[in-house]
Structures are given as structure tokens and as C-alpha cells.
Symmetry: C2
Subunit: 153 residues, 2 copies
DNA sequence: CGGTTGATGTCAGAACTTTGACATCCCCGA
DNA sequence: TCGGGGATGTCAAAGTTCTGACATCAACCG
């Protein structure tokens, strides 16, 4: 066994558990799990809920645009949309005048289901926010943006 | 269409994009993508790398313990370990004196591959850390903990 | 001693997501 | 006019992860 020094971590850390990536992963896993649990009662998956939430805010988004907004591939979003359509929560025209992108819209039932699910999901988010001291929330949102931006470029 | 007010968000937010969950998801997606890219050259997946990193720190962990440490199920970790074993990066005794849990260990080759991969991964983490101003890093780690703890209970 | 409880390893199947590929359609510039 | 570049929708296949289920084993307690 050679006595090579281990690779230097980018900041002082006792072990992997102290690394930013690890903690970020942990927080995300906890959120995902909590949301899964909260949405199960509403018969929705996390990607489906995300999709409904985005569509409520920005109707007529295309499949590809929804995929980008929820950080999955077009192909994945395609099957999500299929599920939502089969459940009658969204609609998509079969043909379109211009271009190839077909705009997706919420149905009334979709809006109802979203509103019902929001109660549960927002409760989860409230637990997160309550756990953060004082003005940390705003800073946290900024930091998330910085991280995403630094890694995307 | 009823004029029901939309469900109240747990904190002031212009839209979904301002919610903590959404930003967290976004940051995590960026990290995952960057790590995937960095690890591809080393022929490692993110779960495999995480596994090696944990094992370097805490040898003789069992399959179930590794699963918890990396936030996946025992079943998923099982296939990850299979891959690592087939690649000769880890070892596991076929039988054990006491109990059912079989301790996993890194091989010399496993340590070498980990060390090589760390260079790339730490570069990614460095990009994250550089993007965070001043003392935010320590606060951020704390906040991640608070979030995970609040959601787990 | 025997039953229960909790944790572990593993198998099988389903569900989800991704990569790779291809055809279609718009736009723009040569 | 027409050809490339870029974006979109979709199919097929593979990979990954999860849920459900079962058997094994240690520890505990009545």
C-alpha cells in the first residue's frame, strides 16, 4: 500500500459527508421522499405534479418545453404527458397550424386535482421553510441559483 | 369556473419557480448532470462513485448500510455492488461468522479508480464552491441539514 | 424454551428514465 | 430556390430504480 496523499478536497472537510454535493443530495432525497408520500394520496407522481404546476403557470407549453422546465428528457416527459392525458388532466391538440410543437393545457379536472394536491405539497414545503432560520430562505434561493448556473455552463 | 383562491404557498413567491423545492431540484439536477459527465471518462456511474467514496471512509459497511448512506434502496445498492464487484473494485466475503450482513471492502484497484475519479469530481465541487460568496458555504451546509432533518421526521 | 420483532440479503416484476435514432418542420442565408 | 442548422415529436432498446415478497438470522422477552 503506497502512502500517496488522498486527492485534495475543494474545501476543508472532515469527510465526504461534509461535501456540498453530498448534503445537497441528501436534502433532495428527503424532499423527493416527502413529496412522493404526500402525492400518493392524490394518485400523482412527482413528475406529474410538477408538470401540472408548471402548466397552471404557463399554459400551452410544448412537450419539449415542459421537459426542460422539469429537468427531464423529452422522452420522459412524453410518457408523463401520456399518463396525464389518459387521466383526463391535460389536453393536447392532435394537429396544429404552425410548426411541430403541440401546446398542452390543463383541463378543469386537472386544475381541481392540482389544487387538491397543492395543499399536501405546500405543507411539505412549509416544513422546510419553518426549519430555516430567519432570512436564510432568500439567501438559500440565491445560492441554489448560483450553484445551478455555475454547473450548467 | 369557480373563483376559488389558489392554494396559499408557504411563503411569498411569484410562481412555482420561486419555491424552495423547485430550486433545490434544479440545483440537484445540475449537480447530477455535471457529475455524470465528469465520471463518464472514468467509467463510473454516480451511485458507483458514491459507493466507493463511502467505502474509502468507512470500510466493512454492509449492503444495507451503504444503501442508507447513499439514499437508495437495498435492492438498488445490490446491483451497484454487483457492478463494482464484477469490475474488481470491491470484495465481499461469501460467508460470515456472525449475522447476515456481509462487509464490503475496496480493493487496491478500487482505491486507485476512486483516486482518479476524485480529481474530476472535486473539480465539479470546486465550481460550486467558487460560485458561493464568502461564508455562505458553511451556512448552506447547515441549511441542507435542517431541510433533510425537517423532512425526514 | 418458543414466539415475536427487527434487520438483512435476494429474487422477481413493474415502473421510470435515459440514450440513440429517425422523420418532420421552421427559419435563415447562400 | 434550396440546403443546412436547429428544434420538435416519437419509436425502440437499454439501463436504472423502485415496490412487493420471501427466507434467513440475531436479539429480545414472556
Amino acid at each position: 500500500m503506497e502512502n500517496a496523499r488522498p486527492t485534495e478536497a475543494p474545501h476543508s472537510a472532515k469527510d465526504v459527508t461534509d461535501h456540498v454535493g453530498y448534503r445537497l443530495k441528501r436534502a433532495h432525497a428527503a424532499l423527493r421522499s416527502a413529496m412522493d408520500k404526500a402525492l400518493r394520496a392524490h394518485e400523482l407522481t412527482v413528475p406529474q405534479y410538477s408538470c401540472l404546476e408548471i402548466l397552471a403557470l404557463r399554459p400551452d407549453l410544448s412537450n419539449a418545453e415542459l421537459a426542460r422546465a422539469t429537468f427531464v428528457t423529452r422522452q420522459s416527459m412524453n410518457v408523463v404527458l401520456r399518463g396525464l392525458q389518459d387521466a383526463g388532466l391535460t389536453t393536447r391538440p392532435d394537429t396544429v397550424d404552425h410548426g411541430r410543437a403541440r401546446p398542452v393545457r390543463l383541463t378543469d379536472e386537472g386544475r381541481r386535482r392540482l389544487r387538491a394536491a397543492q395543499a399536501s405539497v405546500y405543507a411539505v414545503e412549509a416544513r422546510m421553510v419553518r426549519a430555516l432560520p430567519g432570512q436564510r430562505l432568500a439567501e438559500l434561493l440565491e445560492d441554489f441559483d448560483r450553484i445551478a448556473q455555475a454547473l450548467d455552463e
